[in-house]
């Protein structure tokens, strides 16, 4: 009798408790977007930005608020997606230097970063501003770049502690690249290191220990250029800068050498088209890896990097993953810069391989030209095989790269440096074999150094990929689709028609109500406001022609979508 009573009480108690536990489980299910519920995502907020330019800067979420930076001339909007009726908290319109409107090319867009209860805004026309996120009031304001020289700010700054790190854009205008540090609370500039020039400018000192022999020498940033050509050498730090807390180093890629025509700049053109590891205190370089010496196709290496910890060839290691515009995924040792792997993730014919011992690519002689003339069907084509910011998922061990599979015909011609004007020296036609896909989402198995699967896209991908903890990968396409694929298999689970192409990275965040949201800023600049004539095959650096067949977007300008679960 007594054991039965005890069991009955347990059952009754469980019956009382379990129903209470059930809502908790449901609560837990609504904390993240998973393959199970992704199909139920629906837009909770839609906002038209009114700008016809390409929307490259991803929104930033902090404290449940979403901060959206529209293309130049910028508006910075602070939105609360949890209150769909009156989402706009404040709007900040920085004073715009109109000259930068003609320099909004090539992936440069400015950006905003939220860190340490501050908002840091880098505008395309070179203004660095710190704002109060709650009210949008300006804390400090500083000039970082000069659009009169063609110099712009390419991406959002990196904030680590009380330091702010930022690089410039403007390789296509012959601007000398640099990375700089500011004091985050006050905006006081701390140091600036250049990509070309004497060692003192570049930050090469006694601590510099490059892994490969060719990167050792004095004043190589001058010596590997024709006299004074390094002053218009390019190499801008246009992509995101990566911070490694373990090693205490900054990693960043440097952009392509200027001008595009390699015949105008014989030599290895250090330190463009490579990867730097720098000391954040002083900016002095710790090591450098030259990815494309002499940069014969002017692709550069200023793409986003990632630090991962996984088992490489049997033992666990920290690896720096660098997907390069030349179509290869480089795996490097972040401490020394040693190259461990460099396998292609896209069809590549400009190189036949990479000599890992000395870090130099093995160029395909048929795709090299060091004189004026035309090179046909060079793969990958400009601006490179990496279409947008990749993302890594620890759960799957896959690195998701939005890729552009275009190849190019490039014709090198003379170029004259005129301050503030395009300094390219080449004409480009982009295309690919008929019927072949122009883009793909490549899921790169880092440990195995090969692609696990790929989702082919009819058009090159321009925006970044977002790998969520819930096992999904989100990315936007140029034909106006926001897609969610299973992170393991690549199977398409959800698709939403944005009405205009997406060339920025989707952002996932938890709102003030603790619920998960997904935001994407769509707008690819193909509306009538931008005045590109696709009858010229080289329009928009060849991209307009590479996108032929893409119907005009439904939306005239940019649109911000915020999705939530029901």
């Amino acid at each position: 009798m007594r054991p039965l009573l005890r069991a009955g009480v347990a059952v009754v108690l469980m019956a009382m408790v379990l129903p209470m536990a059930a809502p908790c489980a449901q609560e837990a299910a609504r904390d993240r977007i998973t393959p199970a519920n992704v199909a139920t995502l629906r837009p909770v907020l839609t906002l038209r930005t009114g700008s016809a330019q390409p929307h490259l800067a991803a929104p930033v979420a902090a404290d449940g608020l979403l901060f959206v930076l529209t293309p130049f001339p910028h508006h910075l909007l602070a939105l609360d997606p949890a209150s769909p009726t009156a989402p706009l908290r404040w709007r900040h319109v920085p004073e715009a230097d109109g000259r930068a409107a003609g320099q909004a090319c090539c992936g440069a867009s400015g950006g905003v970063t939220a860190a340490g209860n501050r908002l840091f805004l880098a505008t395309l026309d070179g203004r660095l501003t710190a704002l109060e996120p709650a009210t949008g009031s300006v804390l400090w304001d500083s000039r970082a770049a000069d659009p009169g020289a063609g110099e712009t700010l390419g991406a959002a700054p990196l904030v680590v502690g009380d330091r702010l790190f930022l690089g410039n854009a403007g390789d296509d205008f012959g601007v000398r690249g640099w990375i700089g540090a500011w004091e985050a609370p006050t905006g006081r500039p701390l140091w600036r290191r250049y990509t070309t020039g004497p060692d003192s400018d570049v930050g090469i000192g006694p601590d510099f220990r490059p892994h490969h022999h060719a990167d050792q020498g004095r004043d190589l940033g001058q010596a590997s250029w024709p006299p004074s050509a390094w002053r218009q050498g390019g190499g801008g730090v246009t992509g995101p800068i990566l911070w490694d807390p373990t090693l205490g180093l900054l990693f960043h890629g440097t952009g392509h050498a200027a001008p595009w025509n390699p015949a105008r700049r014989p030599g290895d053109n250090k330190w463009t088209a490579g990867l730097f590891a720098r000391d954040p205190e002083t900016g002095m370089a710790r090591w450098f890896d030259s990815i494309s010496p002499h940069d014969p196709h002017a692709l550069g290496s200023a793409t986003a990097n990632a630090l991962v910890e996984l088992s490489w060839q049997g033992r666990p290691r920290r690896l720096l993953i660098h997907p390069d515009p030349n179509g290869r995924v480089y795996l490097l040792d972040p401490a020394s810069g040693e190259m461990l792997s460099a396998e292609p993730f896209a069809p590549v014919n400009s190189t036949t391989g990479v000599d890992l011992a000395n870090g130099r690519p093995q160029w395909n002689g048929a795709k090299l030209l060091d004189a004026n003339g035309i090179l046909r069907e060079v793969c990958p084509g400009r601006p490179g095989a990496v279409g947008g910011e990749p993302d890594f998922s620890r759960d799957t061990g896959l690195f998701y790269i939005p890729a552009s599979l275009l190849c190019m015909d490039i014709e090198f011609r003379d170029a004259a440096y005129i301050r503030g004007t395009g300094y390219t020296g080449a004409n480009i036609r982009l295309g690919t074999a008929p019927g072949a896909p122009r883009g793909a989402l490549v899921a790169w198995d880092v440990a195995a150094a090969r692609a696990a699967w790929r989702v082919e896209e009819p058009f090159p991908l321009g925006g970044g990929a977002l790998a969520t903890a819930g096992g999904l990968v989100f990315y936007g396409t140029r034909d106006g689709a926001l897609k969610a694929v299973d992170a393991r298999s690549g199977q398409l689970l959800w698709r939403f028609d944005l009405g205009t192409g997406a060339v920025s990275r989707p952002v996932g965040f938890l709102g003030r109500d603790g619920r998960p949201y997904l935001a994407i800023l769509a707008g690819d600049g193909r509306g009538a406001g931008r005045e590109i004539d696709p009858r010229d095959a080289s329009a928009d650096s060849g991209l307009a022609h590479a996108l032929r067949g893409l119907p005009p977007p439904r939306e005239a300008g940019g649109v911000l979508y915020v999705f939530g679960l029901p």
């Binding site: 035309i374 005129i418 395009g422 690919t432 005045e531 590109i532 004539d533 009858r535 095959a537 928009d540």
Partner: protein, 180 residues
């Protein structure tokens, strides 16, 4: 040859053909006078310098001047932003749509003085004559009909049909589809 044949030929000599004259050096007084453009206050349109009309508007109708404009278009990095007329970080020049008007004065001013949204000023970098040559060439680029003076294709990569194939330009097939 009978005398009247010679007389006829000499008469034709007087007629000349303005389309084909090549003038290597401009008279300095004329060159200076070509800068005197009277602008409307809004910075768009205005009166071209009278000396230009007196010369018969050579920059629009003379084959040599148009070919010089085409050469300057490449030499002064116009292709860096405007590509071959299709645009990129700068507006297209071959679609016949002109932000500041299609007339020669507006285009001249855009090049000489720059425009607010990123067009640099070239007054310090080009002579006035060269700016007029560029103006004439740009007008032929955005034109809907071609004349005998319009330049042909360049001996370089074919990104679009030559200017003298306007207005029969249609969407080019991809080079990888067997197009040009």
């Amino acid at each position: 040859m009978k005398p009247w044949h010679a007389a006829l030929l000499s008469l034709l000599l007087l007629a000349g053909c303005k389309r084909e004259t090549r003038q290597a050096r401009l008279d300095p007084a004329v060159a200076e006078a070509m800068d005197s453009v009277a602008t409307l206050p809004i910075g768009i349109n205005g009166r071209p310098p009278p000396v230009l009309l007196a010369m018969g508007e050579p920059y629009r109708s003379n084959a040599y001047q148009l070919s010089q404009g085409k050469r300057l278009y490449a030499w002064f990095n116009c292709q860096g932003c405007h590509t071959d007329g299709g645009g990129g970080s700068a507006p297209a020049l071959m679609d016949g749509w002109w932000r500041y008007g299609p007339d020669a004065v507006s285009i001249f001013l855009s090049i000489r003085d720059g425009r607010p949204n990123g067009m640099p000023a070239f007054r310090e970098r080009l002579t006035t004559e060269q700016i007029w040559q560029l103006t004439g060439y740009l007008q032929s680029l955005g034109a809907t009909s071609s004349t005998a003076a319009t330049p042909g294709r360049n001996d370089s990569m074919q990104t679009r049909p030559g200017e003298n194939r306007v207005p029969s330009m249609s969407r080019l097939p991809s080079p990888h589809e067997g197009g040009p």
